[in-house]
């Protein structure tokens, strides 16, 4: 069993992973890498849920983690479908070029 001193460490790891994922979403222009960065952010949130759930002796965090995993899978499926359709419509895979819906 993990000692109680390590829970802030894991919370810090969660925050750091979330930051890395958010920066990836902001700076990368490859939509596949952007989707993977979103998965990274969701993973960081999962870690925080399980960490707090263990810390508070509650199973609710684990249940919400399961829900988040399902949502992440659905998001990945729809996002990858969009990416493949953008590619098949003959455009470059560049997030900055996909701005038709802006105005």
């Amino acid at each position: 069993m993990l000692s109680i001193d390590l829970f802030p460490l894991l919370l810090g790891l969660s925050a750091a992973m979330f930051t890395v994922g958010a920066v990836g979403v902001l700076v990368r222009r490859n939509p596949l890498v952007v989707l993977m960065s979103i998965e990274l952010m969701l993973n960081a949130v999962n870690l925080a849920f399980v960490d707090y759930g263990r810390y508070l002796n509650s199973e609710d965090g684990q249940i919400f983690t399961l829900v988040v995993i399902v949502v992440a899978a659905a998001e990945a499926v729809v996002g990858l479908a969009l990416v493949s359709q953008v590619y098949r419509s003959g455009r470059e895979l560049d997030i900055d070029d996909l701005s038709e819906m802006r105005e």
Binding site: L2, S3, I4, L6, F7, P8, L9, L11, G12, L13, A15, A16, M17, F18, V20, G21, V23, G24, L26, N30, L32, V33, M36, E39, L40, N43, N46, L47, A48, V50, R54, Y55, L56, N57, S58, E59, D60, Q62, I63, T65, L66, V67, I69, V70, A72, A73, A74, V77, V78, L80, A81, S84, Y87, R88, S89, G90, R91, E92, L93, D96
Partner: protein, 224 residues
């Protein structure tokens, strides 16, 4: 510091390095590989946190199904070149966003560390108080006795909660899965008048022989 703690430090380091690798890798497939490493190390952390079922689901669904989908799409599309490595973005709003993200994360981190400095006995007592206040006499409430959880088994406790207290979120999740599946099938249908040849690329997709000519209305029939 026990051996488990040392293992947790090592795995946390692996998770952080692989998370950085997802963002910093020049090739998309390396990003996917780093993401798999990140998910596996997180599964180890879940095991250390007494969340065995979540660890198994993390391996099977995340590192298995979702990453296979990612690798499949990467192999299918094969972007050839990455726009990130032909020049940096020059939008100044980007840096404002990065600074804002870093600031908010530092705040969350400070809050998390300051909010978890009370002792273990305190939080066990607080959980028991909350449980008794919320539902006296009900053992399905907020706090679980770790001994009873270990006796019953993680999967049994999670399953009982999932089908009693959290039945509505569970059903909504299944609805979301159906919507995502139908949406993915609808999104990946063939466009009627789109050029199939991507610019300057000879991908396996473009090399495949064209299927039957798209008939009017055929793409909407194929959804249901």
């Amino acid at each position: 510091m026990t051996g488990v703690d040392i293992l947790a430090y090592v795995v946390a380091g692996v998770a952080l390095v692989s998370a950085a690798g997802v963002v910093l890798s020049a090739k998309t497939i390396y990003s996917a590989l780093c993401l798999v490493g990140n998910m596996v190390s997180l599964a180890v952390l879940f095991l250390l946190l007494n969340a065995q079922f979540v660890a198994a689901v993390q391996i099977i669904i995340y590192a298995g199904a979702v990453m296979v989908l990612f690798v499949f799409i990467i192999a299918l599309l094969d972007p050839g070149h990455d726009p990130d490595y032909e020049g940096p973005r020059r939008d100044p709003r980007l840096w404002v966003g990065i600074v804002a993200v870093g600031y908010i994360t530092a705040q969350v981190f400070a809050l998390a560390v300051n909010g978890t400095t009370y002792s273990k006995a305190d939080h066990v007592l607080q959980g028991q108080r909350l449980a008794q206040a919320a539902n006296p006499g009900d053992q399905h409430s907020f706090a679980f006795d770790p001994g009873s959880v270990n006796a019953a088994g993680n999967v049994q406790v999670l399953g009982r909660e999932l089908f009693t207290t959290f039945l509505l979120p569970f059903e909504i999740t299944s609805l979301l899965l159906i919507v995502a599946a139908v949406g993915a099938v609808y999104l990946t249908r063939r466009l009627p008048h789109a050029p199939m040849e991507p610019p300057g690329a000879t991908s396996p997709v473009a090399a495949l022989p064209e299927e039957t000519a798209p008939e009017p209305g055929r793409e909407t029939v194929g959804v249901g």
